[in-house]
């Protein structure tokens, strides 16, 4: 008897919750086709905004890149003319050079500094941890324009603080941080670094804190010094984070606009710090060549696609290494 009852109960038991569960799932009872799409409603606000403000302008700019486009006057179809002119335009290649130079000058020093700062902040003996972590984000929420104005004063040729300090040490060089190619790139890269180093520090810190203590313990049992622990435990564990920071940095690097624009709207007298986005902006809104500017936008998209593909393969390789 007891056995039978058990069997009965056993067969019944899964039935009841199954029925209940099904009822719970049915948001629109009887309308089966709607239930699976409940999630679509939740993503709708984003999707609608994205379609209107993201995808539609992209498609529209592809369209106008085939025209000599004047939003206020007549526009004429010009086929691939904008693209062939662009590839022959030395300013375009100059802008690519400048963009990547500024990107390299800002990304790599920034990464080293961020990892270094994260190691310091990870120290258990450090006092006022949350204070330090909070102020690291202050540069990130400061307006770019304000940053540029302040840094513009630091980098002034005649009365800037940096040249003042160089002067004090007898290096009477009066570096022109606007006219020089490398000096202007350094000035812009410094502004970007200042703004983003704290943000990246926090990302590195978070992933450092996620490294299990056991790894460090066993390393120190094996007699590893602090440096060796960092080199052989911390760094390998940060691989994925480094890739992430690199990707985000690259996307940001291709969008550098406000800093050079504030330094000199035309990108310098010999376009020494004309970046891709500034080039696009000036073609559209100073020279009123909207079709040409749209073509630049499409070329930037291609560059991003190429870099993303490279990033994708690197990331895949790294994560494969991790599982091995």
């Amino acid at each position: 008897m007891t056995q039978l009852q058990d069997v009965k109960g056993g067969t019944r038991a899964p039935l009841t919750p199954w029925k209940k569960k099904k009822k719970k799932e049915e948001v629109f009872p009887g309308v089966r086709s709607l239930n699976g799409r409940w999630g679509h409603l939740f993503v709708a606000p984003f999707m609608i905004m994205f379609l209107i403000f993201g995808l539609a302008p992209v498609i529209y700019s592809v369209y106008i890149s085939f025209f000599r486009w004047d939003p206020l006057g007549g526009s004429e179809f010009s086929g691939l003319r904008n693209f062939s002119l662009l590839l022959a335009d030395s300013d375009f290649w100059l802008a690519i050079r400048n963009t990547f130079s500024i990107w390299a000058l800002s990304t790599f020093p920034q990464m080293l500094m961020a990892i270094g700062l994260a190691v310091i902040l990870r120290n258990t003996r450090l006092k006022g941890k949350s204070f330090w972590r909070t102020i690291l984000l202050v540069p990130n929420i400061t307006s770019v324009i304000a940053i540029t104005i302040v840094f513009g004063q630091l980098f002034g040729r005649d009365f800037g603080i940096i040249n003042g300090i160089l002067d004090f040490f007898g290096l009477n060089r009066h570096i022109d941080f606007i006219e020089g190619v490398i000096p202007s790139h350094i000035a812009i890269a410094t502004m970007i670094t200042w703004r983003w180093v704290g943000y990246n520090t926090l990302i590195f810190l978070a992933s450092m804190l996620a490294i299990p203590d056991e790894l460090f313990e066993s390393a120190s049992v094996d007699g590893a010094t602090k440096w060796q622990q960092f080199r052989f435990v911390t760094l390998p564990q940060l691989k994925n984070t480094i890739t992430f920071v690199l990707i985000v940095g690259t996307i940001g690097g291709l969008q550098v606009f406000a800093e050079p624009q504030q330094l000199a709207a035309d990108g310098g007298s010999s376009k020494q710090f004309l970046t891709l986005t500034l080039f696009l902006y000036n073609q559209a809104f100073v020279n009123n060549k909207y079709g040409y500017a749209a073509a630049i936008g499409i070329m930037i998209t291609f560059i991003v696609l190429i870099i993303s593909t490279i990033n994708f393969f690197i990331t895949r390789k790294i994560s494969n290494d991790g599982t091995r």
């Binding site: 006057g73 004063q153 035309d266 020279n287 060549k289």
Partner: protein, 447 residues
């Protein structure tokens, strides 16, 4: 007509009510409330005058949105005109007038507007169109607000003017005359100006030279000054709407370029960019002895270098007559409250108001009828060694001629400015840099 009737009946009603109630105070006539939206930049719309207008018209509220000049006259206005949604009044700076006069469809033709009787008490007659008030303004300055199809799209607020602001103390130290008339006589031509600069440089101590001191803040500013003294810039008025591009053949361009290069090579400029922190500091430190200054810059100098008060003076520009900057107010074709906007505009830009703005804020009136007004002629500025600035700028701006402006003027100015910058920074020699300017401009015109 309708307003008159309404006002009258409202007044009658109010009077009846007042008598009935036994109270003698009369409530304001019940006019329809209206909000005028204004897009502007800098100090074009002065707060005090806005308050004055609100006191005159309690039913009018002014919603003022300030932006930086480039986004305002560039992106914002293009977007507004394309979408036909936007403000009732927009301020357009003269560097953009060449572009916007090519698109009259974006603006209300002010010849077709008539002032209502709203501001009769404040001195603006009823029934005035833009054609009727044209005579009050400087001729060449008025042309900045005339589109290529002759419709009037803007009325000038102020005129920049351009004279030489110089440091009396530094001139004295260098053994140059200090009296403003004598100083003006030092440079009847631009070549004489450069020669004076060289004389000044010769008197500088080696320490001053090492500290980078110079005669003028930036020799590049000479270019625009000479361009405005001519009768043609980059376009020839050949009877077509767009005009004909002559930037590569106009002798005035060549003259302005060559003279600026000569000044640059003579080393009279400090190469400090205007409106940079170096410029502000240099102004205080006496790093340069002269600035080519439009009238509106006087306020900037006062604010940035208050300690140099009384050390400055104003002398006339070489050759005579100059301009840099100035703004006109326009009513877009898509404006919702055109009549109210036009009534505000005609009051705000009436000679009386422009004179008030000049006395308080230094923006020089474009209303030339004020130039014979004793209030303007006797106006002296203690900061500038009691120079009769009203008189000096009035005679300067009266000497200029109208110039035909075209769509690409601003882009051309930028390319040439960059060319001069390359020479000043010693990155290229003048010949190479000019060739580069021509290549750049070919792209601007053709691409």
């Amino acid at each position: 007509m309708r307003t008159t009737w309404k006002t009258k009946s409202a007044a009658a009603l109010a009077a009846t009510l007042a008598i009935t109630a036994g109270v003698l105070t009369m409530p304001a006539p019940a006019a329809e409330p209206v909000t005028i939206t204004i897009w502007t930049f800098g100090d074009v719309i002065q707060r005090n005058l806005v308050a004055e207008y609100k006191a005159l018209h309690p039913e009018v509220s002014l919603s003022i949105k300030k932006s930086d000049l480039d986004p305002l006259n560039g992106t914002n206005m293009v977007t507004a005109c394309t979408s036909k949604v936007g403000p009732d009044i927009v301020a357009v700076e003269v560097s953009y007038s060449g572009y916007w006069r090519s698109y009259p469809k974006c603006f209300q033709d002010l010849r077709q507007m008539k002032t209502s009787d709203a501001n009769v008490a404040a001195g603006v007659e009823a029934g005035l169109s833009a054609t009727d008030i044209k005579k009050n303004y400087l001729g060449w300055r008025w042309e900045h607000g005339v589109a290529y199809d002759d419709s009037v799209i803007g009325i000038p607020t102020d005129v920049g003017g351009l004279e030489v602001a110089y440091r009396v103390d530094l001139f004295k130290k260098a053994g140059l005359p200090t009296d403003r008339v004598a100083v003006g006589k030092l440079w009847p031509t631009w070549d004489a100006f450069i020669a004076t600069g060289q004389k000044y440089l010769a008197k500088l101590s080696p320490a001053d030279k090492k500290a980078g001191k110079g005669f003028i803040d930036n020799a590049g500013t000479i270019y625009a000054a000479i361009m405005n003294q001519g009768t043609e810039k980059y376009y020839k008025n050949d009877g077509t709407d767009t005009g004909k591009l002559i930037y590569d053949t106009n002798p005035q361009v060549k003259k302005a370029w060559d003279t600026t290069i000569k000044a640059t090579d003579a080393g009279i400029g400090t190469r400090i960019g205007q409106y940079t922190s170096d410029w502000n500091i240099g102004m205080n430190k006496g790093t340069f002895a002269t600035i080519l200054a439009p009238a509106w810059m006087m306020d900037y100098i006062k604010a940035q270098a208050p300690d140099t008060s009384g050390k400055w003076d104003i002398a006339k520009l070489p050759v005579g007559g100059g301009n840099q900057g100035g703004t006109q107010l326009t009513i877009p074709s898509y404006a919702k409250n055109k009549q109210a906007a036009y009534d505000f505009l005609t009051w705000y830009l009436a000679p009386e108001q422009e004179l008030k703005v000049f006395k308080t804020y230094g923006l020089f009136p474009a209303a030339s009828v004020t130039y014979s007004d004793p209030a303007l002629l006797n106006f002296k500025d203690p900061f500038f060694n009691n120079a009769p600035v009203g008189q000096i700028y009035a005679s300067g701006v009266s000497q200029l001629k109208p110039i035909f402006e075209g769509k690409l003027q601003r882009a051309i100015d930028q390319a040439i400015g960059a060319g001069l910058g390359r020479v000043a920074a010693k990155k290229m020699d003048a010949k190479k840099s000019w060739a580069q300017v021509l290549t750049d401009l070919k792209k601007v015109v053709n691409n």
